[in-house]
Symmetry: C2
């Protein structure tokens, strides 16, 4: 079967990291094998959906047994291209930028911040984690020189579009956007938005 060739729906791709996360958790607990049924209970997706999602990429399980955890973990890492560590630029050295720069959960899951930028003279030059905060006007060339393809925007909404434009100019291809605003970027650039308030608002609807 010619897996991988078909276009895989975005919604499926969005679930793979959650499968991977659950598998890693199981592995840490010392487990060797799991099943779509068990993952289903852990994650809240149906077991059929998990099996079908995986079937877009190949056959990873064994009938009657389930999935060998380490094997499936590695397969998913390869599919998602996180079988390596990606360097990232962080733009914005405020409270959120600090939290992100100090977060130790990136590295094991395929990411690492290697350049930090801010526009405030008071912050430029200061150390944040292992890195010195650089001025915004060096962003484009630094990102290009270091071949950084991923960036995190952690600046106020009003500044976010200008930052995105600079990042794209520097060759960044995917942006994790914490600013509560939509970004306008060329179609080949990926953007993932994180807006906690939007999440909260969609929950209060149900209260």
């Amino acid at each position: 079967m010619s897996h991988t060739n078909h276009h895989v729906p975005t919604i499926v791709i969005g679930r793979l990291p959650l499968y991977l996360r659950a598998l890693t958790q199981l592995a840490v607990e010392g487990r060797r094998v799991t099943s779509s049924q068990e993952l289903s209970e852990k994650l809240g997706f149906s077991s059929a959906q998990i099996r079908k999602d995986l079937s877009y990429f190949g056959e990873f399980g064994k009938q009657g047994t389930g999935y060998e955890i380490e094997f499936l973990e590695n397969a998913l890492r390869e599919i998602l291209q996180v079988d390596r560590v990606w360097n990232m630029a962080l733009v914005g050295a405020g409270d959120l930028g600090h939290a992100l720069a100090n977060y130790d959960g990136f590295e094991l899951r395929g990411f690492r911040i290697t350049a930090i930028f801010d526009s405030a003279p008071a912050k430029i030059g200061a150390m944040l984690g292992n890195w010195r905060v650089l001025p915004m006007d060096t962003l484009r060339e630094t990102v290009r020189a270091q071949k950084i393809y991923l960036a995190i925007i952690a600046v106020p909404a009003a500044a976010a579009q200008a930052v995105a434009d600079e990042l794209v100019q520097g060759g960044v291809r995917a942006i994790l956007n914490y600013a509560p605003t939509t970004l306008s970027v060329p179609p080949q650039i990926k953007v993932f938005h994180i807006d906690p308030v939007a999440g909260l608002q969609s929950m209060t609807y149900y209260l």
Copy 2:
């Protein structure tokens, strides 16, 4: 037409906060009126989808003209129940907790942190923003006494489930979960997950 009665798909509810966010932005820019077409360009959803989503709740626009921004904003705030300010508990006073406690973007969009908890003796008693960090073992009763129905979990993954259990015991009905793990809660409790790494991983697939 008996709007509002039909069950509204979750996916529609998830888009409403984005519509509201865009409308507020337009209002700040001094705009009075907009159209599904303009919102479509700003947000990246089709104009038909925006109109259909809104039609679940009533008729807010005027043919030939579009939508009166302030009117639609207020309607959405009412629908989402953010025409008030919800008190929230924040659990976890680490870097992320600090960033959240100091974030000034909550209040205008319907939320406010009014109680902060941590388990580390070193942090308990310290001030964070306007609030003193309280010990975890006062969580349940404090949340119940203050009638807090929303909470943010900003603790390590390993501690998240226990925190969630306490929150639910205290009467919390919706949780914004920053811990990179699935939470197991009773079905009537809403959980919204924020996992930046999962977002990054779903983007690297395409690089």
